[in-house]
């Protein structure tokens, strides 16, 4: 058993937001997916206030030991999510975390308030890896900006708030500390690293969104350093992710100070990766006290 912000989880393995669509997976795999659900808590893909189509294709590029994605947060929007997705996600056998992103503090407030009202939702994750269209600053890259966002939404819900940090920052630990001070209950990291690929023939950007986010084993060493630095700085639980593909990797992130870990890109290679990693982790034996 693992405890995360007062919620009992059967284990420490989550999914990274946007790397597993339980509704689509149920279409492909049927209810056998629920019988041995791969995660101990399920994190939804990030939703926004307005519906989004996402970026034009191509959206994917394979890199050495990883990939770049330029998905562009396609989602049904707040109302569409609450009406059609949430009831289906509520059928999952594990606690639900809903990931939200606002392009202004008002949007973020709306999302936290409306999602927070729903009892199917156990925790809310704030994806702050986007520019605040008012200030132009990437919320998650700037401690003050992140603090202000938290101060705004903290009073709006009793539910635990997780801040998903961006690795594209000088000092993620400073951002985490600001989030903690402003009332965050946990932080999760890393989100994807900014990256790019060119068309092999034309030399022009390959991705429809021009740039994208790098993920997979190639980012693991960077993620582990940031998780270690953040865990040393804050007292709230840390959810560590970034290239985790085995129980050994998960063990490393826990040893670096994480309370839970999340599996992202590895889900694409194996839909049961979460479960496999959980069992490899228990076979690997106890995790030493945080380094």
């Amino acid at each position: 058993m693992t405890e995360l912000c007062g919620i009992e989880l059967r284990g420490p393995v989550l999914n990274g937001s946007g790397t597993f669509d339980a509704i689509a997976a149920r279409r492909a795999f049927g209810d056998s997916l629920l019988e041995r659900f791969p995660f101990d808590a399920f994190v939804s893909k990030t939703i926004t206030v307005e519906p989004r189509e996402g970026n034009p294709p191509p959206r994917l590029w394979e890199t050495p030991a990883g990939m770049i994605n330029s998905i562009g947060l396609p989602n049904k929007g707040l109302e569409g999510f609450l009406a059609s997705d949430l009831p289906q996600l509520a059928e999952l056998p594990v606690p639900l975390v809903v990931s939200v992103m606002g392009f202004t503090r008002d949007e973020l407030a709306t999302l936290v308030e409306r999602v927070g009202e729903r009892e199917e939702v156990e925790l809310i994750e704030l994806n702050v890896s986007c520019p605040n269209v008012e200030t132009g600053l990437v919320m998650g890259a700037d401690p003050a900006e992140t603090g202000r966002a938290l101060e705004r939404v903290r009073p709006l819900t009793q539910k635990p708030l997780i801040v998903k940090l961006t690795p594209n920052a000088v000092d993620p630990a400073a951002v985490a500390a600001a989030a903690e001070t402003a009332g965050a209950d946990a932080v999760s990291l890393i989100n994807t690293l900014k990256g790019m690929a060119l068309h092999p023939r034309t030399g022009r950007p390959w991705l429809g969104g021009v740039t994208g986010g790098v993920s997979g084993p190639s980012v693991r060493a960077v993620a582990l350093e940031q998780v270690h630095a953040v865990a040393e700085r804050v007292g709230i639980p840390v959810i560590g992710m970034g290239g985790i593909a085995s129980g050994r990797d998960a063990w490393d992130f826990l040893a670096a100070g994480a309370t839970c870990i999340a599996v992202g890109t590895e889900n694409f290679r194996d839909p049961a990766a979460g479960r496999r990693i959980a069992s490899e982790l228990s076979e690997r034996g106890p995790v030493p006290a945080g380094v």
Binding site: R27, A28, F29, S32, R59, L60, E62, P64, D270, P271
Partner: protein, 266 residues
């Protein structure tokens, strides 16, 4: 076939055993014994494949992600199923798979996606394949009675894949085998022969030509499409194609689409 021709996949990656890998002109026909998979995938469905050993460290340190392949043939095997894939080596992933030897491990997830629907009542099934797009038509032709199969290839080497079919209409770009026309010209002629349902798979320009021709003549058509995929089961949102009602994920809403849903297949 049912309204949504989809056989469910076990919810994890499993390991099959390669039992054959033979050259077929420009392609390779790879057979694997999938002990733990369903014996009844639907034509047009696909599997995500990776070599168990040595997946990575080739050109540009790739491949890393699994690769999508329509199954070409499936035969019940005790236990499980014997699957055949027709493969064209064009990059690090397909090159690695093309090297697999009997006894090697083949990691797979599937069957995935939605296959071909039944032809419209009282129509002849016209199967149109271009290049490697021939693969899913093989199992499809087996399921239909007396379908007409039309195949187009770049060259005679590629056209060797046509040998897998009883008596296909054949076209090659260089005219080395069959007629020196585009396969769509064969299709145009066949369409004169009365009501038909077109079931096609091939490169985007061919599919677009088929789509336009069928739209013009009001002929129902289903197109098995391709796009870059990372997961194959709706997790990454990477495989979208534009349709009249927005982007859809080809891996869960396709890869076979009613031609009418598309403004263009390019």
């Amino acid at each position: 076939m049912g309204s949504e021709p989809r056989t469910l996949a076990p919810p994890q990656r499993r390991s099959a055993t390669v039992v054959g890998n033979e050259e077929l002109g420009a392609y390779r026909l790879i057979a694997a014994h999938d002990r733990d998979g369903p014996a009844d995938p639907r034509p047009g469905q696909f599997y995500m494949l990776a070599a168990v050993e040595g997946w990575g460290g080739r050109s540009d340190e790739r491949p890393y992600l699994p690769r999508a392949f329509s199954y070409a043939r499936a035969r019940p095997a005790e236990p499980g199923v014997r699957l055949e894939f027709l493969l064209e080596a064009i990059g690090p992933g397909t090159e690695r798979l093309a090297e697999l030897e009997a006894g090697d491990g083949l990691a797979l997830v599937g069957p995935l996606g939605i296959g071909f629907r039944a032809p419209e009542p009282d129509t002849r099934a016209l199967l149109v394949g271009g290049g490697i797009g021939t693969a899913p038509l093989l199992c499809l032709a087996e399921e239909l009675d007396e379908p007409r199969v039309l195949l187009g290839f770049r060259s005679g080497e590629h056209a060797k894949a046509a040998r897998l079919f009883p008596d296909p209409g054949l076209a090659t770009d260089d005219g080395s085998v069959g007629r020196a026309v585009l396969v769509t010209e064969l299709l145009a002629e066949e369409l004169e022969g009365g009501p038909a349902t077109v079931l096609a798979c091939g490169p985007p320009p061919m599919l677009e030509a088929v789509r336009a021709m069928c739209a013009e003549r009001g002929v129902p058509a289903q197109l098995a499409m391709e796009s870059g995929m990372a997961c194959g089961f709706g997790a990454c949102f990477g495989c979208v194609v534009p349709t009249r009602d927005g982007y859809i994920r080809l891996c869960v809403d396709g890869p076979v689409l009613e031609a009418g849903r598309l403004e263009s297949a390019l």
